[in-house]
């Protein structure tokens, strides 16, 4: 299945949504470069994801009849690799004399760092100084780049797209795909995308599989912004084949390892189609989980390295094939389940605490061994009332054992308690 993001990628510059001034400047700069008049030999397009940086570069190349030589964030970008691709292309002519020139595109330059990309930025700097072909660099955050590097480039900002603009594109695509889409639903998708057109189109595609999109479909989207970090990390880990890259993916993420583990577990089956890849992936995750368990139980934090390597490298190296297509990651069902069962879990905890006090056992033993016992004893209403009085259960706590007769039992228990207080110290037989 073809991605709509690719299918509807603008063919001409005037089809690019938004950022008109920057798009115009991009074109003017390439023309200046050709005439040898460009002051800087590289252009740095910076802006949030989905604001049209890549699309603008591709549309320009198409209009000018240029070829694009590209290095992606998923490639390893050491000095050697950068030189092999960008360096070589900057020195040589094209293969096809029909092409009038080339644009050398480096995606996510702000992501070139760390040991796995050693010397990558320095290599790009050298190439910029000597290049014969225009170099276009893409970055989300230009301030992550060293100042002397930025000094070699002309910076061009791409702004987050306006919600109405995103909505317009969504409407156009739905019309072309023949999807009966509810206007409100499209508006929700546009709002959730938070200016990221690529994300919006991907959402549209996944929601529109059935040929129609109703309001209830778009409700399943949650705010993308807050989850953006984890989404990026997931796709890094799932898509890369480099151990170092997978490991680095979680460095900047402010989440505890257990949360990441749940996200990985939830989305692994959505990504790895091959059952044997999936089996190996889950094997790694379960081993990581063992380590996390040890850490929690014995506070052996030194084991964290093993847990996180198994989660990241382990998962990414367990695939034998690559999965190029776009996957819509989901919020872990486990967390949703926790939220749903919170009230009940709180109740169980309160009941366990009361049992624990009376029976001189830990709350854990109370929850695991005593609650089932108490539930069995509750079958006899007289006994249930006596027990409730003994433990001092509230009505809603009694509901945990016997939701139907809770009210009567509670009433009886109150009487017993009152009686016990008046008879002072004379213990009512429990059973």
């Amino acid at each position: 299945m073809r991605l709509w993001v690719e299918k509807y990628r603008p063919q001409r510059l005037d089809q690019i949504a938004g950022n008109a001034t920057s798009v115009k400047r991009l074109q003017a700069w390439v023309e200046e470069f050709r005439r040898g008049e460009a002051e800087k030999k590289a252009l740095l397009l910076h802006g949030p994801p989905g604001s049209g940086k890549t699309s603008a570069a591709y549309a320009l190349a198409r209009e000018l009849g240029y070829d694009i030589v590209e290095t992606n964030a998923s490639d390893i970008r050491t000095k050697t690799n950068i030189e092999r691709v960008v360096g070589t292309a900057s020195k040589m002519g094209g293969l096809d004399p029909g092409q009038k020139g080339r644009i050398l595109l480096v995606d996510e330059v702000d992501g070139i760092h760390g040991r796995s990309d050693f010397g990558g930025l320095a290599a790009i700097k050298n190439i910029i100084r000597k290049t014969r072909e225009p170099i276009v660099l893409l970055a989300n955050d230009p301030w992550a780049l060293p100042a002397d590097f930025r000094g070699l480039c002309e910076a061009l900002q791409f702004k987050r797209l306006d919600r109405r603009l995103v909505l317009r594109v969504l409407k156009e695509i739905s019309a072309k795909e023949g999807i009966a889409a509810d206007e409100k639903a499209l508006a929700t998708i546009a709002t959730n995308a938070n200016g990221d057109l690529r994300a919006a189109i991907n959402d549209l595609q996944s929601l529109g599989q059935g040929g129609r999109i109703g309001v209830e479909d778009s409700a399943s989207l949650f705010m993308r912004d807050s989850e953006e970090g984890i989404f990026k990390v997931l796709s890094r880990i799932f898509k890369t084949e480099s151990c170092a890259r997978a490991r680095e993916a979680v460095y900047d993420l402010d989440e505890d390892p257990e949360t990441i583990l749940h996200w990985l577990a939830e989305n692994l089956p959505r990504e790895y189609e091959d059952p044997s890849d999936l089996a190996r992936g889950f094997d790694s995750l379960s081993r990581a989980d063992l380590f996390l368990g040890r850490i929690k139980k014995r506070q052996s934090w030194r084991l964290l390295g093993y847990a996180s390597d198994l989660m990241t490298c382990g998962v990414s190296l367990s695939k034998r094939r690559r999965y190029h297509r776009f996957t819509r990651y989901q919020y872990p069902a486990f967390f949703a389940m926790l939220a749903r069962t919170r009230a009940k879990r709180d109740l169980t905890a309160a009941v366990s605490a009361k049992i624990s006090r009376r029976c001189h056992v830990s709350t854990k033993v109370a929850a695991q061994e005593f609650i089932p016992l108490v539930r069995a004893l509750f079958r006899d209403p007289v006994r249930a009332a006596r027990l409730s009085s003994y433990f001092g259960f509230e009505q809603r706590e009694i509901e945990l054992f016997d939701p139907d007769r809770a009210k009567e039992i509670y009433g009886e228990a109150q009487k017993i308690t009152a009686e016990r207080i008046t008879t002072r110290g004379v213990q009512t037989a429990l059973f």
């Binding site: 094209g94 293969l95 014969r132 091959d274 034998r320 094939r321």
Partner: protein, 243 residues
């Protein structure tokens, strides 16, 4: 699918010639034969390879297949097998199986990877300068020029083909006269090329003994290696003079 060959060396040389160009290749296996078309990530070199079914001892292909594999793995495996080789698809496992039966029975499984869609077109260029010669001469000239330079100038001037290179005070010039060529279509032409790429391409000289060199002025170079059932064509972008 089942392919059987007694010329593993030949296959290995072909893969070795492109292993530095691309990380992975898609083998198109059709009832008529196998083909590979690939371009390096810098878009300066392209290979178009075809091996007809007659080149194999046994060739059983029911339906066309596209098999994408990691090139380094294939080259490493081909170094470890005997001359007689059987290539199969491992059912259900998404892997290519290579079997070689000498004194030891060897079996290698190479996982198939997902192809990134790409439809490469071979550049259409009309060349007015062509020289066909013994491929050993070509390989020899590339080796000679490689001792000092990174780039070589290929030039046809008058009745001869020249390979020249200069680096600091060193200079190498190799001349191949028209009479030493198998065929010669002359028009003066001159372009510069990266020797790093040419050295790899020249490896094909070990298995195919003729090469046709097509040249132009600041145009890509085209190398045709062909025998009865095998055809290997390389295109290499020129280095443009920086003045």
């Amino acid at each position: 699918m089942k392919l059987k060959t007694s010329q593993t060396d030949k296959l290995r040389k072909i893969f070795e010639a492109i292993v530095n160009l691309v990380d992975e290749v898609t083998l198109k296996v059709a009832p008529e034969g196998i083909t590979i078309r690939a371009m390096d990530p810098a878009h300066v070199a392209l290979i178009d390879f075809e091996m007809k079914k007659e080149a194999f001892d046994e060739y059983k292909v029911e339906e066309p297949l596209e098999l994408t594999v990691d090139l380094k793995t294939v080259v490493n495996v081909l170094k470890r097998v005997e001359q007689d080789l059987v290539i199969k698809i491992k059912e259900g496992a998404n892997a290519l199986t290579l079997l070689s039966e000498g004194t030891m029975k060897k079996r290698f499984n190479i996982p198939l990877i997902e192809a990134s869609e790409e439809n490469l077109k071979v550049p259409s260029i009309t060349f007015e300068t062509e020289a066909e010669l013994d491929s050993a001469l070509f390989k020899n000239a590339i080796a000679d020029t490689s001792i000092i330079g990174e780039y070589v100038t290929l030039k046809v001037e008058g009745d001869a083909l020249y390979f020249t290179t200069k680096a600091e005070e060193n200079e190498v010039e190799i001349r191949v006269d028209k009479d030493s060529c198998i065929s010669f279509k002359k028009k003066d032409a001159k372009s510069h090329f990266s020797l790093e790429y040419l050295q790899d391409m020249a490896k094909i000289a070990d298995i195919i003994n003729k090469v046709k060199i097509s040249l132009g002025n600041d145009l890509p170079l085209k190398l045709d290696f062909a025998d009865d059932y095998t055809k290997i064509v390389f295109f290499l972008a020129p280095r443009v003079e920086t003045e």
